[in-house]
């Protein structure tokens, strides 16, 4: 039973985006209202509250001794409740990074027009266990000069602008 061109030919009908947008075929448009308020829980609640204070906090697992960031109430490897809170530094090293020419909805940024591409990175935070990283953005650096192991430091929003969010850190920039 070879799957042949003939077998699959009429199984799906090809359309272009224009066929749909211009109404050549009928369609129904719908924008659902999907809004959420996600409870932080004790761990993230403290994490965000400390970010508002300009500090990064982690939590320790007393079984595997990892210092976990973002902090969590249970260690996902040992499956036990975590122990004490530990402050970590706002510096780190770049574990891996990206130079993105598109935004969250895959729209192109106007790179030719001078817009800087996004440079998100996984940053291993100093004070946490080696390899423990968080996702954040890099800035004040030439995207093409970022390298694995580059030392970076957080650039914070001024205290009056912080609200208790991951964006209270604007981005990380290289330390000279």
């Amino acid at each position: 039973m070879e799957i042949t061109d003939k077998m699959v030919a009429k199984t799906a009908t090809k359309l272009s985006a224009e066929d749909i947008q211009k109404g050549k075929v009928l369609s129904v448009k719908w924008t659902p209202k999907l809004k959420y308020a996600w409870d932080n829980g004790p761990a993230l609640g403290r994490y965000l509250a400390e970010l508002k204070n300009g500090r990064i906090i982690a939590k320790k697992c007393n079984k595997c001794h990892r210092i976990l960031i973002p902090p969590r109430m249970f260690c996902e490897l040992c499956w036990v409740p975590t122990g004490e809170w530990v402050y970590v530094q706002d510096t780190g090293i770049v574990n891996t990074w990206v130079i993105s020419y598109v935004d969250w909805k895959a729209s192109r940024l106007d790179i030719k027009g001078g817009v800087r591409p996004y440079t998100p990175a996984v940053i291993e935070i100093d004070g946490a266990t080696k390899g423990m990283g968080i996702l954040h953005l890099l800035n004040e650096v030439d995207p093409w000069k970022i390298y694995r192991g580059m030392k970076v430091k957080a650039v914070w929003k001024p205290p009056e602008e912080r609200i208790g969010a991951i964006t209270d850190i604007k981005y990380f920039k290289p330390i000279e």
């Binding site: 009928l26 659902p32 409870d39």
Partner: protein, 158 residues
């Protein structure tokens, strides 16, 4: 692990707000294309399965019971039916109160296994009963777009 946090006032809960910012365009599909284009002409289409001897409304390209292909077996089923069940809605889907409660019914199109959820109009709630014969009332032809809303509502057959 017992409950760690317990709040007496909901305003004490810390939370993060966000949304899922997507919208959708659903193509109506092969069967839908035929069905909704006929709607523009004020007709309701069904699909007949000859093996199971029943008619589906709205039409579909397959019989869900025996999996036979139904394309090529579409037919007009008329615009009359009976109220299968009904209710009166006092709230919108977002949970706000409606000023004019609407009557929603499942209407079984005569001679078929299928039908629609739609509104009932030109009738008082107290006069609606299960089994009541109704017919579709379409919008003016110029206002029809090929949508289930091309039918304004179903009304009792006088």
């Amino acid at each position: 692990m017992a409950l760690i946090e317990r709040f007496q006032k909901v305003t004490d809960v810390t939370y993060w707000e966000g949304q899922i910012p997507m919208s959708y365009i659903y193509t109506v599909g092969r069967a839908g294309e035929k069905f909704f284009r006929e709607m523009i002409d004020g007709k309701i289409l069904g699909a007949k399965c000859n093996s199971c001897n029943l008619i589906y409304v709205p039409p579909r390209i397959y019989c869900e019971r025996c999996f036979e292909r139904l394309e090529g077996h579409y037919l007009e089923v008329g615009t009359k039916g009976k109220v299968h069940t009904f209710t009166q809605c006092y709230e919108t889907y977002e949970g706000t109160r409606k000023e004019n409660p609407s009557i929603v019914a499942v209407i079984r199109i005569d001679g078929t296994e299928g039908g629609f959820v739609h509104w009932l109009g030109e009738v008082e709630f107290k006069d609606v009963y299960i089994g009541m014969p109704v017919e579709a009332v379409f919008k003016d032809k110029k206002d029809r777009e090929g949508s289930i809303l091309d039918i304004k509502y179903f009304r009792p057959i006088k």
